[in-house]
Symmetry: D2
Subunit: 181 residues, 4 copies
């Protein structure tokens, strides 16, 4: 990428939420960084790798204002991965952070949020900055060191209108005001 | 710790160096963050956990100005862990970053750098900021997410006299100028 | 246990089968050792540990007459773990050996085969000898060395006066009467 | 292999032994199965994979008459892997079973036992039957299920007309002649 991705993350469209007293919106979370992870309960890589990583993220950044959100983006085996099964899954796997059921789109296998975010499949993760822009978009699993670095940079970024930290392509660059000159 | 550790890291004292054309000094590296890891070649935790993590750190931050340095701090089995054995060890384990042989101190089991740094044992790691101060000091192994976060913050810190990022006790706080007010 | 368990394994009661052209019965498998593993698709330990082990068992004993059978013994979250979800699960997790859906028992949370076998929960595994008796019954996961040893012994046992399986040099061969004609 | 390997294992030639009050010989162990593992203390695969597996083998077959023996077959970095370093290594890695230092052969990089056994490198393992013949010879690491199966079969083999070891139901008992008196 030769230029930073300054796209504002599209809003979540959910038919149901778990692990939260009220639905969440990215608009309402503006000012806080958001780690969004898309999964399916019958996706082996999501279960064996993403979920444990999400728990490690929750633990490592427990004292910060990072918001972790899961999105159950079912795009195959629709009859097999219903909200009833998801609810039992979340209980059994002890996932504590909020999870949205991605809204089904009539006439499409792909649900609405998945389409809006341009996800290629599961697992995928998207890190959203304090200003609502997409800082990174990963299909598959990224190693913990890189994830830790990205999130730390997102947390360190000034919430103010000016000055945004840019983390992309595995490198995290300090806000312009920091870099000297 | 109720107050940040602003101690400047003491200098490395080495009797030999591997993987570098010339000896390194922390003074000469001022302006760059340094990840210092202390190990012994017969320390099981160092071999099974630290070394793989050091390689992951080297890979994740390859495009940055982070300097990784190993220190072979022998404080037991001195006759078993000589520089000859260390050299073969570094070759077999494919450790590419510079490694110092900690200088033996006459009349003591503990070598000089280990004493200066106040290390409790191996593995230990010390993250040094651009300004030469100790940002974190860990005895044992820290998980990758926390390590990635710490190093990212050290890299993001301004190298200038004013404004220092503080990472301590698992939390990384943005430089004062960033945090608003 | 002060005396060997010579109990003949009770028969499987299934409402459906996957990965087999026709239902299996332990009576029909008499003469062959059977490795029976009970699981639930939302049981984290079953997914992360038992299934990979079952695949390793299938691979290690591929050239023998060992029969591996899974039993989906749902005793909780019944609405969440239906045969439709199980079918997609088996597809996604690439489990190739036959799987029975344990028969629901009216008025009970516990299905029929689970009750007959006296299972305490999932994962459980039962090794059945050539003569149909229970050789071992394990609740939880046993390490691979012990599992390999148990199954090798079951394969080595003489099936009847005539015909002996030979396990030696890492290869286990079917009884002469089986291999020929 | 189209025919069984009936070669009697060649004798161990050692310049030193650790973890045993007296030197061992395969001739003196005739009647018992022997699991022989060849390693070098600076061989990464030996340290990360073989040693943990050897400990699992020791544990799984603790109640049997299996004899586990390590051979330190140094064929490179000779000055780096001396008996002094080996002794500290065995202490730090908590290897409890007997270890022989393979006898250096004048004018050769390859030590005597390594040459006699025809080892291609480290790690290697050789399973020797009760009758002293080589049952298997593996270069590299074999998975635990296969190792468990091999050793169980070696233990189950009749040692001689009189006295039979019994491996069944996960327990392996020493021949009657051994256990009594």
């Amino acid at each position: 990428m030769s230029q930073p991705d300054v796209r504002v993350a599209p809003e979540i469209a959910a038919s149901a939420w778990f692990n939260t007293p009220a639905p969440l919106t990215l608009a309402g979370l503006r000012g806080r960084p958001v780690f969004l992870h898309a999964f399916q309960l019958l996706c082996p890589g999501c279960v064996s790798q993403t979920l444990p990583q999400v728990k490690r993220i929750e633990r490592a950044f427990a004292g910060t204002d990072l918001q972790v959100i899961g999105i159950h983006t079912v795009f195959e085996h629709h009859a097999a991965m219903t909200p009833v099964t998801l609810q039992a899954f979340l209980h059994e796997y002890r996932l504590a952070s909020p999870v949205a059921v991605d809204l089904a789109e009539e006439g499409s296998e792909i649900p609405v949020t998945m389409r809006r975010l341009g996800l290629r499949g599961t697992p995928s993760s998207i890190l959203i900055g304090r200003d609502g822009t997409v800082l990174s978009h990963v299909f598959g699993i990224e190693d913990d060191i890189a994830v830790g670095a990205r999130i730390a940079m997102a947390l360190a970024a000034s919430p103010s209108p000016a000055g945004t930290a840019a983390c992309a392509d595995g490198r995290c660059e300090a806000p312009a005001g920091e870099a000297g000159a």
